[in-house]
């Protein structure tokens, strides 16, 4: 193999592309860190939870699955909204045996925009409870399925795991005490009740046009752990060719000081969900949602070219 051939191969081998889904997840974490200095990452949290870890080890020597320390989970609460949810969560404390160990639902939180569940297990990470590619499901007492939104996990020093799962409520979200069932594809199902904290929903129905695209903010829902904006995207005649358009979003509440870090999630073609990685207790006031750019790609393969379209698309509205 010549040097040139070797370099060509190395170029290909090291030419991995970050998928749009993973890029969103990375962006959300980094923007959350930048917009909220209180975000605790895995590594920095280790020192702070050292005592909690030691206590967890001691407890694990006594029982199969001990109730893990409240603080232990802080190392995986990557988003500010998750931290709020965890601080306001209620203890569930239900445990089920599984092959080779046990699974325990530790705590839960629910508001109009997400359900956050913390669970732990004595199983090694490799012995997952997802079966053959399955995902956890959450339903409420009415049998409505919630969409899994996000999650994080880490190993504990005793070889088990701690995990956070988040779900997006169905529309309209339930209110008051609500009974949920969380099912693991290759594990147990848990039924438990959580109080649902309400939220504020408005329907701005505002349209903004720029760069060959029409964007309409159809609904905006604010809750303590996150805010969500629903947008529809329409391609106009003068739009550039491209696909999989994603927005770069800036969100302010009552002026520049109230910036909320953001992320996006695209459900269907033409439907975009914009979410704040933090929420608000009081949604009243003036909101400005600005989409500064739309980012898509030309669909080419393997040399997929990114296309960026400048906005801005600006939506300003008041919540009473």
């Amino acid at each position: 193999m010549t040097s040139e051939q070797l370099e060509q191969q190395l170029d290909r081998v090291y030419g991995a592309t970050l998928s749009a889904t993973l890029a969103e997840a990375v962006d959300a974490r980094v923007f959350a860190a930048v917009t909220n200095p209180l975000v605790i990452s895995k590594r920095s949290a280790l020192g702070r939870v050292r005592w909690a870890v030691l206590l967890a080890v001691a407890a694990a020597m006594l029982v199969s699955v001990a109730a893990l320390g409240f603080e232990l989970f802080t190392r995986i609460l990557f988003l500010p909204g998750w931290q709020v949810a965890w601080q306001r969560s209620v203890e569930i404390g239900v445990e089920e045996p599984v092959d080779g160990g046990a699974v325990r639902l530790e705590r839960g939180y629910a508001d109009a925009n997400q359900v956050v569940i913390g669970w732990s297990s004595t199983l090694d990470r490799a012995e997952n409870l997802s079966g053959d590619g399955g995902i956890e499901t959450l339903t409420d007492a009415a049998g409505r399925n919630y969409t899994i939104a996000d999650g994080a996990g880490d190993e504990t020093v005793d070889g088990g795991t701690i995990n956070i799962l988040t779900f997006t409520p169905v529309d309209p979200p339930p209110a008051g005490d609500t009974t949920y069932t969380l099912s693991f594809p290759a594990g147990p199902a848990f039924t438990f009740t959580l109080p649902v904290v309400g939220g504020t929903t408005v329907s701005p129905n505002l349209e903004a046009v720029a760069g060959g695209f029409s964007l309409t903010l159809t609904e905006f829902r604010a809750a303590p752990s996150r805010v969500i904006g629903a947008l529809t995207l329409r391609t106009l005649a003068d739009a550039p060719d491209g696909e999989s358009w994603s927005p770069i979003v800036h969100l302010e509440h009552d002026g520049p000081g109230g910036v909320i870090g953001t992320g996006i999630r695209t459900h269907d073609v033409g439907t975009i969900e914009v979410f704040g990685v933090a929420g608000v207790d009081d949604a009243s006031g003036h909101w400005t949602l600005t989409i500064t750019e739309l980012v898509g790609h030309d669909g080419g393969w393997p040399d997929n070219q990114q296309i960026r379209v400048d906005g801005p698309w600006v939506f300003e509205f008041d919540v009473p």
Binding site: M1, T2, L6, E7, L10, Y14, G261
Partner: protein, 180 residues
């Protein structure tokens, strides 16, 4: 706290030597996210692990931003230095060989069976070549081809001079049994 998500104008023009503001940090994040991911991907078994370590590197960089004082062209060495330490930490934590590098399947379509055979042989040859290199040589190649860094930038990340790094790369890329 106001945070601009726009790329800071002139952020990478190599002319300023200032602590990183939030807007500048985001600008550099946008510029270097994918190269850091490619570098991480060379050290992880899954895309998800590489993305996780990429986010962790920038989170750590944000917390340590006061330690970066430029000039701006020193940024790649700084961020990859952080990424490199994280990768070693993660490998150690996962009880895997601390500097194991992973080759994943190559993607380009090759319809000619002869090409498929050739690709398999090439991949095996490449794996053998990399296995024969030192840890530091493999690290330098990952930074060069994954991070797309120059010899100067690689040197900053691994704590070597530009000349020493260039020598390291030259030897790593030399054809078997000779000089390129």
């Amino acid at each position: 706290m106001e945070v601009s998500r726009a790329v800071a104008a002139g952020a990478d023009d190599g002319t300023s030597a200032i602590p990183l503001s939030e807007a500048e940090f985001i600008g550099r994040y946008r510029r270097w996210r994918d190269p850091v991911y490619r570098y991480k991907r060379a050290r992880c078994r899954t895309d998800e692990d590489a993305a996780d370590l990429t986010a962790s590197a920038f989170e750590r960089a944000w917390r340590a931003r006061h330690t970066f004082r430029g000039p701006t062209d020193a940024y790649p060495g700084w961020i990859f230095g952080i990424a490199r330490r994280l990768a070693v930490d993660a490998a150690r934590r996962q009880r895997t060989a601390a500097r194991t590098q992973v080759l994943w399947p190559l993607a380009p379509p090759m319809l000619d069976p002869a090409d498929l055979v050739s690709a398999g042989e090439d991949a095996r040859n490449l794996a053998h070549r990399l296995a024969d290199l030192s840890d530091l040589q493999r690290e330098a190649l990952a930074l060069r081809f994954g991070g797309r860094l120059t010899a100067t930038q690689i040197g900053a990340a691994i704590g070597k001079s530009e000349a020493a790094t260039q020598k390291l790369l030259t030897r790593a890329l030399a054809p078997e049994g000779g000089v390129p």
